[in-house]
C-alpha cells in the first residue's frame, strides 16, 4: 500500500519520477517535487516525532520552514544532520531519515512517561527542585542533559565543502512570492542591479500552494523569465535570507546540492553563504499562519489550515479524508473548499458567531457543514487525530456551553489568522506596530533610514490579497530603484484570478476555552509545540511575576526552540496580555535575532576552513628546512624551524647538539620572520627617538643599535636592532610577532600626532630573506662566500656592510643574539633559497650546523638576553628587566616615559629579572614554576616570583633559568625555594643573568 493519501491528479510533483526513501527503517515512495514531509503524508505517515519535554507524539503542523514538530535526523554517518525540518527537505532518491528524541522507538517512547507526571513539571520546575542534597546536582544534571537535546551530532568530520561569497546589488528582494517577483521586475526595469532570494526550490511563494493555479504559474513563469533574461538580475532559489545587519548587509544561505543527496554534488559546495550589501532592500518575506490554541491541539493531524491547502494543491496530497477546519477568520474557507474539491469530507468550525453569507452559500453548495460560534474543546486520538468535540462558545469567548458534538476526523486545519514575517525588519533595527484589523504586528516606518533602508511589501506588510501584494511589490520595486537614483517603472499591473478567500473580519480568540479551566484536567493548550509550552505555563509565569516579555520567554522557554517561535510568539504575547488585562503592544514584542532559520556552521566559515583557515606563512627558505628534517614551531602565523633532529635524536638531544655547535663551530638560523621597517625622511630620527627609550642622535651611518619600545603605560612591548643606512634613512627590526604591531604603532603616531613630520615608514619584512650565522667560525664561513672585507677591524661589531654574498647583493649586519661572533645576512627574498644552499655548501668545511628557534632560545638565555613576551609580559618596565642602561636620562620625551615615574612603577619589590642556579645542576625547572617565600605542606603558599625561561645549557654545563623575583636585583646570592605542583621542592641561588662568557669577549672576536 503506497501513497494512500496521494490524490490521483494535481500538484506540482512529477509523477513520472518516483523516488524511494526510508523513514525509521521503513521504505516508502514519493515523487520528485515532494518534500520529505509531503511524501510521508502521502504515505499516510502522521507520527513524525516526539516533543521536547513531555515526549508527546507529534506530526506535521506546517508545510514550510515554520514547522516546529517534524524534526528529522537526516542521513547517517558523516553526512548525518540533526533537527532537520521535514518540510524543508526536498525528496531525493535513497533519502534516509529517522525520528528523534525517542527511545526505543517513535511508537513506543519511554520518555512519554514524562507526560504522566506532566503536572509536576510546570514551566521552570527545575529552578525549584534538584537542589538536595547539593552534591547530587551533577548526577541529576547528567540525566537532565541526556533527556534534553534533540537529534545527535555527527561523530565524524564533515565530508562536505562550503562556499562563502560577497555580493553587491542596488535592490535586494527577500522573497520571490507575488510581491517579491513584482518588486524585482519593477526595480530591474529601471536598470537596477537586483538580487532576489527565496527559500523554496522554485519561485512563487504562497502562489505555489493555491488551487487552480494555472494563472498563478503563468504569472510566476512570466516574471521569472523576464528576470532571468536581465543580466543585472540574480534570482537565487533554495536561498534563505538569514540575517539583516547594519548598512543593509544581508546574509543568506543557499542550499546548493542538499537536494541531490549526500555525496552527489560533485565538486560543487554543499551550501553557499552569501554576504550581500544592498543599497535598498525590499522585504517580501510573506506571512505565517497562526495555530489556534485549543485543548490538545498538538495531536498529529492538527495542522495549519494553509499547510493542508499547500499539501493538497502543491503536492497532490490530501492529509486525511475527514477534515475539520477550525478558524476565526475567512482565509481558511479556501482550504475547506480545496479539501472538499479533493474528495474530503469537510466540516467548518468557526469561532465567530456570524459568518458572511456568501461564504455560507459556498459551503452549502459544497455540502460542507458549518458550526458558527463554536469551538473545538478536545481532540481525541493519542498518536493521530480520531475525532474532535465541538461546543458553542459563550458570547465573550471565555467559556463553552451546551451540547458537545463529536466529529470523526483525521485532520484539523486550524487558522488563528496570519502573522506577517517581520523578522528581517526587526533584525534591521526596525520597529513594529500592531494592527487590530489583522490582529498582528507589521513593520512600522523604518527607523534608521541610513543604516537599514528597507521597504516591506505583500503579506509581510499585512496584505493578504494577491492582487494587493503585487501592487505593493511593484510600488516597492519602483521606490527602491528610485532611491538608488534609477528610474523604476511600474509595468502594467498584473491581474489574474487566484482562488483565495481574503482574511475578512478576524475575531481573535487567543485561547480557546474548554470544559475545564485551562491548566486543569488532562488536556493541554499548546502554543509553542517544540518546547512544549502551554497556556498554563504562561498563566504560571504571570502568577509568579515573570510578566515582561523577556521574562516570559526565558521562564517558560516559549519562542526559544529551533523554530524561534515562528508560530507561537504572537499567541504567547496575546495570552499574557489577556491575563494582565493589557493590550498586546503593551506586553511588547521580543527582538528577533538572526538567523531567520538555523544556519549550518560549516557554511558560515565558507571556504576558509582547513588549509585556508589561517594562512601558514613560510619564509623563502622553508623548503630547505623541510628537506633537512626540521620540526616546526608556530610563531604567530609563521612556521619557524624549531630544531633539526638527526636519526635517533629526540628534541632534547637535537637542541643540545645544535646549541653546542654554535659555540664550538658555527650555526645558521633562518631569521627572515623578524619584522623589518624602512624609515626615511628628514624627521626619521625624531620618530626613532620617540619610539625607543635610548639615545639615537649619535648613531653613525652604517652602525646598528639595540632598542626597547614601551607603550604609554611604560611597559616593554617590543625590541630590536635599528641600523642607520644613510643620512635620513634607517632600517628597523622588530620581533616576529610584533612586526605588524610596531609598524602600526609608528604609523599611528606619525599620522595622528605628528603629521607635520617628514617621515615615511615602509614594511620590508618580506623583501629580505635573512640567515643568521653564529659561532667562532662565522667569519671564516662568511669570508668564503663574500666580497665584503669581514676582518675584525674592517667590519666591527654592531655595524652593517653591503656587498655580495654567494654572488647576490646583500646587506650584512654584524649583530648577535647568541653572544657569539655573528652576522645576519639579508638578501632579496628571491635569493633566500640560493643563500641557504650556498651557506650549506660552503659550511661543510666549517662544521656548519643549522639550528632552530629552540637552540636560539637556549643560546640567548645563556647570555641573559631577554625575549619580549617570554621574560617580559605586558607589566614589565626596563628597570624590572635590570635594563636601566637602555633608558635615556637626557631625553625630554619618549613614549612611555612619564609612566616610569608613577607611584607603582617606582615602588620597590617589583618583580625583577634575575638568574637562577638550582642546587642540583641537573634539575631543569619547569617554566612557570613559582618561587615561594615559605613552603608548607599544602597551598596556599605566598609566591614572590616565577621562572620565565629555563633550559639545560650544554655550554654552562648545567641547568640555567631566568626568573622574575620581587626585589630580585637586591637578592643576588640568596637561596630561594621553588614549590612545584607535583610536590617537589627545589632550592636555587639567585644569580646574575649571564651564564656564559660574562665578559662578552666572544661576540667581539
Amino acid at each position: 500500500m503506497t501513497q494512500t493519501h496521494r490524490l490521483s491528479e494535481g500538484g506540482l510533483v512529477d509523477r513520472s519520477k518516483p523516488l524511494t526513501f526510508s523513514f525509521d527503517g521503513i521504505t516508502y515512495t514519493g515523487y520528485r517535487g515532494d518534500t520529505l514531509a509531503s511524501a510521508l503524508l502521502a504515505n499516510g505517515v502522521r507520527l513524525l516525532g516526539r516533543s521536547f519535554k513531555y515526549h508527546r507524539p507529534r506530526g506535521l503542523i506546517a508545510a514550510g520552514s515554520e514547522e516546529p514538530n517534524a524534526l528529522m535526523q537526516l542521513e547517517t554517518g558523516p553526512y548525518t544532520e540533526p533537527n532537520t525540518r521535514a518540510t524543508c527537505i526536498e525528496l531525493y532518491d535513497g533519502l534516509v531519515a529517522k525520528s528523534q528524541n525517542r527511545w526505543p522507538s517513535l511508537g513506543f517512547d519511554v520518555g512519554a512517561a514524562n507526560s504522566l507526571v506532566a503536572r509536576f513539571l510546570p514551566a521552570g520546575f527545575y529552578y525549584k527542585t534538584f537542589m538536595w542534597p547539593a552534591s547530587m546536582w551533577m548526577t541529576y544534571e547528567k540525566y537532565i542533559r541526556k533527556a534534553a537535546g534533540l537529534g545527535v551530532s555527527p561523530t565524524e568530520d564533515d565530508p562536505d565543502v562550503y562556499h562563502g561569497t560577497y555580493a553587491h546589488c542596488d535592490v535586494l528582494v527577500i522573497g520571490a512570492g507575488p510581491a517579491g517577483l513584482a518588486a524585482a521586475t519593477a526595480a530591474a526595469s529601471g536598470g537596477a542591479r537586483v538580487m532576489v532570494l527565496d527559500e523554496n526550490n522554485t519561485p512563487g511563494g504562497a502562489l505555489l500552494g493555491t488551487s487552480n493555479n494555472a494563472a498563478s504559474l503563468e504569472f510566476i513563469q512570466r516574471s521569472v523569465q523576464s528576470l532571468e533574461r536581465n543580466e543585472n538580475v540574480q534570482l537565487l532559489t533554495r536561498t534563505t535570507a538569514t540575517g539583516y545587519y547594519d548598512y543593509n548587509y544581508i546574509t543568506a544561505i543557499e542550499k546548493v546540492t542538499d537536494h541531490m543527496g549526500p555525496g552527489k554534488g560533485g565538486t560543487a559546495p554543499r551550501q553557499r553563504f552569501w554576504k550581500i550589501r544592498a543599497k535598498q532592500v525590499v522585504v517580501a518575506a510573506g506571512s505565517i499562519e497562526r495555530p489556534l490554541v485549543f485543548a490538545d491541539n498538538d495531536r498529529p493531524g492538527v495542522m495549519l489550515a494553509n499547510a493542508v491547502g499547500t499539501y493538497i494543491n502543491r503536492y497532490g496530497v490530501l492529509p486525511g479524508n475527514d477534515v475539520v477546519v477550525f478558524t476565526n477568520n475567512d482565509s481558511a474557507y479556501q482550504v475547506a473548499f480545496d479539501a472538499s474539491e479533493s474528495g474530503g469530507v469537510v466540516t467548518v468550525v468557526d469561532t465567530r458567531s456570524s459568518v458572511q453569507s456568501s461564504l455560507k452559500a459556498l459551503l452549502e453548495e459544497k455540502n460542507i457543514k458549518l458550526f458558527e460560534g463554536h469551538a473545538i474543546t478536545s481532540v481525541q486520538g493519542a498518536k493521530g487525530v480520531e475525532s474532535v468535540r465541538v461546543m458553542k462558545l459563550s458570547a465573550d469567548g471565555d467559556s463553552v456551553q451546551g451540547q458537545a458534538w463529536e466529529i470523526d476526523c483525521s485532520v484539523v486545519a486550524s487558522s488563528g489568522g496570519w502573522t506577517p514575517s517581520c523578522h528581517m525588519v526587526s533584525q534591521s533595527g526596525g520597529k513594529l506596530k500592531y494592527i487590530e484589523s489583522i490582529a498582528a504586528f507589521v513593520p512600522d516606518e523604518s527607523r534608521l533610514k541610513k543604516t537599514s533602508p528597507n521597504i516591506s511589501a505583500g503579506s509581510c506588510n499585512g496584505s493578504f490579497v494577491t492582487a494587493t501584494c503585487i501592487q505593493q511589490g511593484t510600488q516597492a520595486g519602483v521606490d527602491a530603484a528610485t532611491r538608488c537614483g534609477l528610474h523604476g517603472t511600474a509595468a502594467s499591473s498584473e491581474s489574474f484570478t487566484v482562488n483565495e478567500v481574503p482574511l475578512g473580519t478576524i475575531s481573535p480568540l487567543w485561547l480557546v476555552p474548554t470544559t475545564h479551566p485551562v491548566g486543569e484536567g488532562r488536556s493541554k493548550h499548546f502554543h509553542d509545540f517544540q518546547n512544549d509550552v502551554t497556556a498554563a505555563d504562561i498563566q504560571l509565569a504571570a502568577r509568579e511575576g515573570f510578566v515582561s516579555v523577556e521574562h516570559l520567554k526565558r521562564y517558560t522557554t516559549t519562542g526559544m526552540a529551533t523554530d524561534q517561535g515562528k508560530t507561537s510568539n504572537l499567541n504567547a504575547l496575546a495570552i499574557m496580555a489577556n491575563i494582565q488585562g493589557v493590550s498586546i503592544p503593551e506586553v511588547g514584542t521580543t527582538t528577533f535575532r538572526p538567523p531567520y532559520t538555523p544556519l549550518t556552521l560549516g557554511a558560515v566559515g565558507g571556504q576558509e576552513s582547513r588549509e585556508l583557515f589561517i594562512q601558514e606563512r613560510h619564509t623563502p627558505m622553508h623548503e630547505w628546512h623541510v628537506d633537512n628534517g626540521a620540526e616546526f614551531e608556530d610563531v604567530g602565523d609563521w612556521k619557524r624551524s624549531w630544531y633539526y633532529p638527526k636519526a635517533g635524536e629526540d628534541m632534547h638531544s637535537a637542541v643540545q647538539r645544535e646549541t653546542l655547535a654554535v659555540r664550538e663551530s658555527v650555526g645558521m638560523l633562518d631569521a627572515s620572520t623578524l619584522g623589518k621597517i624602512d624609515i626615511q625622511g628628514k624627521d626619521a630620527i625624531k620618530l626613532i627617538e620617540m619610539a625607543y627609550t635610548n639615545n639615537w642622535q649619535k648613531l653613525a651611518i652604517g652602525s646598528c643599535r639595540y632598542g626597547l619600545m614601551l607603550n604609554e603605560h611604560g611597559m616593554i612591548f617590543d625590541d630590536g636592532v635599528t641600523t642607520r643606512l644613510g643620512e635620513n634613512h634607517y632600517h628597523m627590526t622588530t620581533t616576529t610577532g610584533g612586526a605588524a604591531r610596531v609598524m602600526g604603532w609608528l604609523e599611528e603616531w606619525l599620522q595622528t600626532e605628528w603629521p607635520e613630520w617628514e617621515v615615511y615608514c615602509t614594511s620590508v619584512t618580506e623583501q629580505w630573506a635573512v640567515m643568521a650565522i653564529n659561532g667562532p667560525k662565522a667569519r671564516e664561513l662568511l669570508q668564503s662566500i663574500t666580497d665584503i672585507d669581514v676582518s675584525k677591524d674592517a667590519f666591527p661589531f654592531m655595524t652593517m656592510r653591503e656587498g655580495k654574498v654567494a654572488g647576490v647583493p646583500a646587506r650584512v649586519y654584524r649583530i648577535s643574539f647568541t653572544g657569539e661572533l655573528a652576522y645576519e645576512i639579508n638578501v632579496p627574498a628571491r635569493y633566500g633559497k640560493h643563500l641557504i644552499e650556498a651557506l650549506a655548501a660552503a659550511g661543510k668545511k666549517f662544521d656548519l650546523c643549522p639550528y632552530g628557534t629552540e637552540a636560539m632560545h637556549v643560546l640567548r638565555a645563556e647570555k641573559g638576553f631577554i625575549i619580549v613576551g617570554q621574560d617580559t609580559d605586558g607589566t614589565v618596565t626596563p628597570h624590572d628587566m635590570d635594563m636601566d642602561w637602555i633608558v635615556s636620562k637626557t631625553k625630554e620625551e619618549y613614549l612611555g616615559n612619564r609612566s616610569q615615574v608613577r607611584i607603582d612603577t617606582q615602588r620597590t619589590a617589583r618583580p625583577q629579572l634575575i638568574g637562577l642556579l638550582t642546587e642540583d645542576p641537573t634539575v631543569v625547572l619547569p617554566e612557570g614554576a613559582h618561587i615561594v617565600s615559605e613552603v608548607s605542606d599544602a597551598p596556599p603558599m605566598p609566591t614572590i616570583g616565577h621562572v620565565t625561561s629555563s633550559y639545560m645549557s650544554p655550554n654552562a654545563g648545567r641547568s640555567i633559568a631566568l626568573a622574575l623575583l620581587q626585589d630580585g636585583i637586591n637578592r643576588k646570592g640568596d637561596v630561594v625555594t621553588l614549590r612545584l605542583m607535583n610536590g617537589e621542592v627545589h632550592r636555587a641561588t639567585v644569580s646574575d643573568t649571564v651564564f656564559v662568557d660574562a665578559e662578552g669577549v666572544r661576540v667581539r672576536g
Binding site: 547594519d246 548598512y247 527607523r447 543604516t451 595622528t752 625630554e892 620625551e893 612619564r898
Partner: protein
C-alpha cells in the same frame, strides 16, 4: 556591518578597517611636569559617550591612512568621516535619529 567612508578611498566595507578609540586626545608635551592624576587621565580616561563619538579609524586593508569619524554609539550611524588635519564637523542636533 558598517559601510565606512574613507576620506581617501570612499565607501568601503567595515572589514577593511580597524577602530582605535576616541579621537582628539593630543599627547601632552611636557610630561615630566604632569602629576600622576593628569598622566592617568591622558592614558586611561575616555568620554565613552552614549551618543555622538569622535573616533579614530585606520583603513588597514586599504590606503593605510588614519582618519577620524563622527558616529552615534546607539544608532551606529556615521555622520561624517574626516582627515586628521580637517576641522571637526559639527554634531547634529537631531538626537541621533536619521
Amino acid at each position: 556591518m558598517f559601510i565606512i567612508n574613507c576620506p581617501y578611498c570612499g565607501d568601503r566595507d567595515q572589514t577593511e578597517f580597524s577602530c582605535h578609540g576616541e579621537a582628539h586626545i593630543p599627547r601632552p608635551t611636557e610630561t615630566k611636569k604632569m602629576t600622576d592624576e593628569e598622566w592617568g587621565d591622558y592614558v586611561f580616561f575616555r568620554t565613552n559617550p552614549k551618543g555622538y563619538h569622535r573616533e579614530r579609524w585606520l583603513h588597514d586593508h586599504g590606503c593605510r591612512r588614519w582618519f577620524n569619524a563622527l558616529r552615534h554609539t546607539v544608532t551606529d550611524e556615521f555622520v561624517a568621516s574626516y582627515k586628521v588635519e580637517d576641522p571637526r564637523p559639527p554634531i547634529p542636533d537631531n538626537g541621533g535619529q536619521s
